[in-house]
């Protein structure tokens, strides 16, 4: 498999393989649409999970920090979008005015009557960078207290943070209504690109009319998410093969030696948290717009664990592996649901194992089996020896850099 993606040794073959893969991904919705919207929809979520898995991969795979509360960044990105791209902010303002009139009126004065009436509706061009920035900031805030903690403690504390965020989301509807509690935030704006709403016009049955062809909304989102995924993959790989990426791996491999070599481990770890978090935030923002509503149940510990399972299954630290893991664990439960349910109906007369159960079984099995029997994951990074490096294979040239 590695031979098809070996960019230094066989650049033309690699680019050809990547191009073929891209074409495959781009054609997928066209074929899948024949069978209705569900398959493209599944892949839409899979693409969101790929972004999440790549983000967590920076923290767990590159830097070796087990973050069990990662979904909190997804939640933050989603709720931020909920507040900044829906009528919710009007509700928030109203709630402040009722509970804390002084603050409420001050806010009203700042935001004005238009927002007080309709809420804030920022466009996607603001939402994405804001989401990335806000979650990066929170990532660093989370990172600060946990930096000196050992592996298992780090895991539990980050888990605690994830739960704390969820509890806040669930309860910040009183005394002032910010998150609307368990009901969540509705009517989140779909994404508009150049004036075209990706949800299609109302009444169009979720189809976009682009003049010379129509496109189901799920397909439009698919291409948007694919684009974002590619961007995130690009960023991740660039980070991996850089001074920063090496510093992360150094910390993972031996933190004491890393410090002795001059790496400021605190700052480098904070950067890992920040970058990983920002991917989660962008993914969360997309999720909110895609689904149109957010509620605390989408951001439980099970989701954090799901993303972790994807990273573990695919191969921690290896980008192609992580992508594979994400696709498998996002799509497989759905695929099985479509196939296993009818089989169970035919054989047992009822569905013994439903989709939710199946999903959880897969996550649990993935983590246990992989760690026990194939700890490097399904698609681990190839050994350095198997990745020929032209610089290294040729004899050393004089470089003119003076020693000492």
């Amino acid at each position: 498999m590695a031979h098809f993606f070996d960019v230094t040794h066989h650049p033309r073959r690699t680019y050809a393989s990547l191009a073929a893969l891209l074409v495959l991904f781009m054609l997928f919705p066209i074929f899948a649409s024949q069978y209705g919207n569900s398959w493209v929809r599944i892949m839409d979520f899979a693409l969101l999970y790929i972004m999440l898995a790549l983000g967590l991969n920076i923290v767990v795979g590159f830097a070796g920090l087990l973050d069990l509360g990662y979904i909190a960044f997804y939640a933050l990105g989603a709720y931020m979008t909920g507040l900044l791209a829906s009528p919710q902010f009007a509700v928030v303002l109203e709630s402040f005015v009722n509970q804390y009139p002084m603050i409420g009126n001050a806010l009203l004065w700042i935001f004005g009557p238009e927002i007080a009436q309709n809420g804030i509706h920022l466009s996607v061009w603001f939402i994405v960078p804001l989401g990335a920035g806000l979650t990066a900031l929170f990532g660093m805030l989370l990172g600060l207290p946990v930096l000196k903690l050992r592996g298992d403690y780090l895991a539990i504390v980050t888990l605690g943070f994830g739960e704390i965020i969820r509890i806040f989301m669930n309860n910040l509807n009183a005394p002032v209504n910010i998150t609307n509690g368990p009901q969540g935030i509705n009517l989140i704006d779909p994404i508009r690109i150049f004036g075209v709403s990706l949800a299609g016009k109302p009444g169009s049955n979720a189809t976009l009319d682009l003049g010379w062809f129509t496109l189901p909304s799920v397909n439009a989102y698919y291409y948007l998410f694919l684009l974002l995924c590619i961007a995130i993959i690009f960023i991740t790989i660039r980070l991996q093969h850089s001074r920063l990426g090496r510093a992360w791996v150094a910390i993972r491999e031996d933190e004491i030696a890393a410090k002795a070599m001059g790496i400021n481990t605190r700052n480098i770890k904070l950067l890992a948290f920040a970058m990983g978090a920002s991917f989660g935030g962008v993914s969360g923002a997309m999720f909110a717009s895609f689904q149109g509503f957010v509620s605390p149940e989408s951001f439980s510990l099970m989701e954090s664990i799901a993303v972790l399972a994807m990273v573990v299954l695919g191969g921690m630290g290896h980008v192609p592996g992580v992508i594979l893991g994400a696709i498998i664990l996002a799509a497989l439960p759905e695929v099985l649901r479509h196939t296993v349910a009818p089989v169970q109906m035919a054989v047992f007369g009822k569905v013994l194992i439903d989709a939710e159960v199946l999903r959880q079984l897969l996550y649990g099995l993935a983590m246990v089996m992989i760690v026990l029997y194939r700890p490097a994951g399904l698609w681990p990074a190839p050994l350095h020896e198997d990745r020929p490096d032209p610089d290294v294979d040729k004899p050393a040239k004089a470089t003119g850099v003076v020693a000492a």
């Binding site: 004491i256 070599m261 400021n264 020896e385 290294v392 294979d393 020693a403």
Partner: protein, 256 residues
């Protein structure tokens, strides 16, 4: 002509609970010398190393590097100031290749961050090329250029030790501090190590060396300090220290 003193440490005390691990330990290393720190097991040599490189905090002591005081409060600050060390039990970045290990050594002298990593603008690409070239050069220097692309845990023990030295050299240190670099080596490997250390010295670097192999150390070091039970008991050139009765007693036993 006054020699430049690269490392000037005085009055280091370190206590662990009831144990006084270091009592008033100090040394002065002139530039370009190989300085040995020897003593029986448990004398406090590695503890001293850990103190001057920031892994432990001393209870007291003054620390000067290259004439300037430095604060051994955090290991990465010490590396930045200019002391690079190797470890008694080799600490390589196991999953990285030999080349990558040495490239990490360049971290402290370079500065590209996430922006540079993603954008790869001219300055970033230049820095990355410089890092790579310098790392390859150092691998050549220590004699393991042909293993540049090998996973570091696949290297032989002797080559791993060389790699650790190459990585430390990559930080461009004023002082190279080696903690038992010959431990576990056979006679041939020790000869090779000796050659390497002389080569490093001839480039003008200063080396502080903890070693147990008395023969190696006597032939290699310009000066040495002997520790016993955390106290310095002798200091000077090898031929003198060798004959010091306190040193002989420390190594051969006798009433303590």
């Amino acid at each position: 002509m006054s020699e430049q003193i690269i490392l000037n440490i005085a009055g280091v005390n370190k206590r662990f609970g009831g144990l006084q691990a270091l009592s008033n330990v100090g040394l002065k290393i002139p530039k370009g010398q190989i300085y040995g720190l020897i003593g029986p097991n448990g004398a406090g040599k590695t503890t001293f190393f850990n103190v001057i490189t920031g892994l432990y905090q001393a209870d007291s002591g003054t620390f000067e590097l290259g004439g300037e005081p430095y604060s051994p409060s955090a290991p990465h600050e010490v590396a930045k100031a200019g002391i690079a060390r190797t470890f008694q039990n080799i600490r390589l970045f196991n999953e990285m290749s030999a080349l990558e290990n040495v490239m990490v050594g360049r971290h402290v002298r370079t500065h590209q961050g996430p922006l540079g990593a993603v954008l790869r603008h001219k300055a970033a690409r230049q820095e990355e090329a410089e890092i790579r070239a310098r790392a390859l050069e150092l691998l050549e220097f220590v004699g393991i250029r042909q293993f540049a692309n090998r996973t570091s845990r696949h290297l032989s023990y002797g080559d791993q030790r060389r790699l650790e030295i190459a990585r430390a050299l990559a930080t461009d240190p004023k002082l190279l501090a080696l903690d038992e670099p010959a431990a576990g080596m056979n006679a041939t490997e020790k000869l090779g190590l000796r050659e390497l250390l002389v080569k490093i010295k001839n480039e003008g670097r200063t080396i502080l060396l903890i070693e147990h192999d008395v023969k190696l150390v006597m032939g290699l070091c310009d000066q040495m300090t002997v520790l016993d039970y955390g106290k310095p008991i002798a200091q000077g050139i090898p031929s003198v220290v060798q004959k010091d009765p306190a040193v002989i007693e420390a190594y051969l036993g006798g009433a303590h």
